[in-house]
């Protein structure tokens, strides 16, 4: 992990409130890791944890949704501007656990950290993407995944319903998920029922991103753990939900 001021290659709106930020970065990154990102001015204080969407030959891509002051300010940054990056941080996905038939399940912007994983796992992994009504990043997943299922709550694009309705857990040895907690909890429950190993990438408010502030606690069977350092990827076996 390192702290650098990186040059922005692009920072564009790709869907409603969803931005794609591409920056220069040299190093190695494990799928599922994240960076703490901050503008160089003082318009907000704490860097924002944003997961790696894709990484390719010194180009690092993030997908983020503008929610509050920080992400809104980041969305105003332009090509060639410098932005503060700190990372890569977190454990990332354990690829060795996923060298089997895997289902990658993402909900909304929560699918962002799963693209780089899909790319690494290749055709052995199927992808399930659930959205409210606005669909994005599905084309990127189709390039790498074995099979890609897209669904929306109102059926405007793809299948109609919740993403959790379209998965046959009997077909998989492992499941990876990131998205709204209610979705992930349902998936974890189904995995337990079907005896399928499951890994969830969690999101928490963070200050440091590196394990020192103890602000981003996750309740596990072994007590509180840190989403930033012990996670963000947790095995469903350790989570208390």
């Amino acid at each position: 992990m390192k702290v650098i001021n990186s040059r922005i290659i692009e920072n564009n709106l790709i869907s409603n409130k969803i931005y794609k930020l591409k920056v220069e970065f040299a190093g190695s990154i494990i799928p599922g890791q994240f960076f703490m990102i901050k503008t160089l001015d003082n318009s907000f204080l704490l860097p924002r944890p944003i997961s790696v969407h894709d990484f390719n030959q010194n180009e690092l891509t993030f997908l983020y949704r503008t929610e509050g002051t920080g992400t809104t300010k980041i969305s105003t940054m332009r090509e060639n501007d410098l932005i503060q990056l700190f990372g890569p941080l977190g454990n990332g996905f354990d690829i060795n656990e996923l060298k089997c038939k895997t289902a990658i399940i993402g909900g909304g912007i929560g699918a962002a950290p799963l693209l780089y994983l899909s790319k690494v796992l290749g055709k052995n992994a199927d992808v399930y993407l659930g959205y409210k009504n606005d669909v994005y990043m599905d084309d990127s997943f189709r390039k790498y995944a074995g099979n890609t299922v897209v669904c929306t709550e109102d059926g405007c694009i793809g299948e109609k319903g919740f993403v959790t309705d379209f998965i046959d857990y009997n077909n998989y040895d492992a499941v990876v998920t990131c998205g709204p907690e209610i979705m992930m909890n349902k998936i974890i429950e189904s995995c337990r029922e079907h005896n399928v190993k499951c890994f969830a990438s969690l999101e928490r408010r963070m200050a440091c991103g590196m394990g020192v502030c103890l602000g981003c606690t996750v309740e596990t069977k072994d007590g509180y753990k840190r989403a930033c350092k012990d996670g963000p990827v947790f095995s469903a076996d350790e989570l208390r939900c």
């Binding site: 390192k2 204080l45 704490l46 200050a207 020192v212 103890l214 602000g215």
Partner: protein, 300 residues
């Protein structure tokens, strides 16, 4: 860098810049980012005699130019610290201060006895914790209560003792004097300011504990005033902290009378902030043509 060497509390610091408790863990994570021997010192994550799990619910909340935390002193306890963290910390080749809190007098005493036998260089006594035996008021609110605990700790403490003062003290000048009279070798101030946040959608406090500690650049002017006030009333060295982000902030604290400073929240904003600040100090001295920070200490 010899110009930055600072002597205080019987210790030699390579420079006056330490990292603040609770913002630096035990140094391990930061050692992957920069060489910790460049620091004046490290204050450990706040310890209590026994391990603590910390608070439930939301623990961090951002405010305009500040943050509120409600970690709840999550820590491994003094024994685990001495066994698993201290040996590595000592290898960082800088002054190692242990921040020790307690919820009753006996907690402090037992912690001190254990730390006396360890390799720590300095004890930073956290008196902002509620005293569970006297209705929960923090030790650091009334100067008479602080005097009592500090003098008892000082009697048994074999290490230099720096008392960390709470901005929630009834009077900062009286509190500083009480600590000096109780035998403290130094004081550090300020700890976080008691604050709160409300979630208007839930119509509830953000934190399970309701009140929590505010830090960051928004508290700096208050911290600076309190350091200035304390410095006018005591002769023991003062370690100033509260919202320091830049070298200029450090210079302001030194001009207000601080001998040492601590970098806290800035470690989260830019993990190598302390190094930028230390480098900035020598640049400042070159620019101003001064040989020692003593020349500007307390001049305001």
């Amino acid at each position: 860098m010899i110009r930055l060497i600072t002597n205080a509390m019987g210790l030699e610091f390579k420079n006056p810049v330490l990292t603040a408790s609770g913002t630096f863990g035990f140094g391990e994570e930061f050692s992957e980012i920069y060489d910790l021997s460049k620091l004046g010192g490290i204050c450990s994550k706040g310890l209590t005699l026994r391990e603590r799990q910390g608070n439930s619910g939301i623990r961090i909340w951002e405010t305009p130019m500040g943050m509120i935390n409600s970690i709840g002193l999550q820590n491994p306890g003094v024994d685990n610290f001495i066994k698993y963290e201290l040996p590595r910390m000592k290898s960082y080749n800088t002054v190692i201060a242990v921040n020790l809190g307690g919820h009753c007098e006996e907690d402090y005493f037992e912690g001190i006895y254990k730390l006396n036998e360890s390799d720590v260089d300095l004890i930073e006594l956290n008196i902002s914790c509620p005293n569970v035996k006297t209705g929960g008021m923090a030790f650091g609110v009334k100067s008479s209560v602080a005097y009592n605990i500090v003098s008892k700790v000082k009697r048994i403490c074999k290490k230099p003792l720096m008392v960390k003062l709470s901005p929630n003290a009834e009077s900062m000048s009286e509190m500083a004097i009480a600590c000096e009279e109780a035998g403290a070798d130094g004081i550090s101030l300020i700890n976080t300011i008691q604050a709160m946040a409300i979630d208007i959608k839930k119509r509830k406090p953000v934190f399970d504990n309701v009140y929590a500690g505010l830090s960051g650049p928004c508290v700096k002017p208050i911290a600076l005033r309190m350091v200035h006030e304390a410095a006018k009333n005591v002769k023991i060295p003062i370690c100033g902290l509260g919202g320091i982000m830049t070298t200029q902030d450090v210079i302001e604290f030194i001009m207000a009378g601080a001998t040492l400073v601590q970098i806290g929240t800035a470690n989260f904003i830019k993990p190598d902030a302390a190094i930028d600040i230390i480098d900035g100090l020598t640049e400042f001295m070159d620019r101003e043509g001064i040989d020692s920070l003593d020349e500007i200490r307390g001049i305001v």
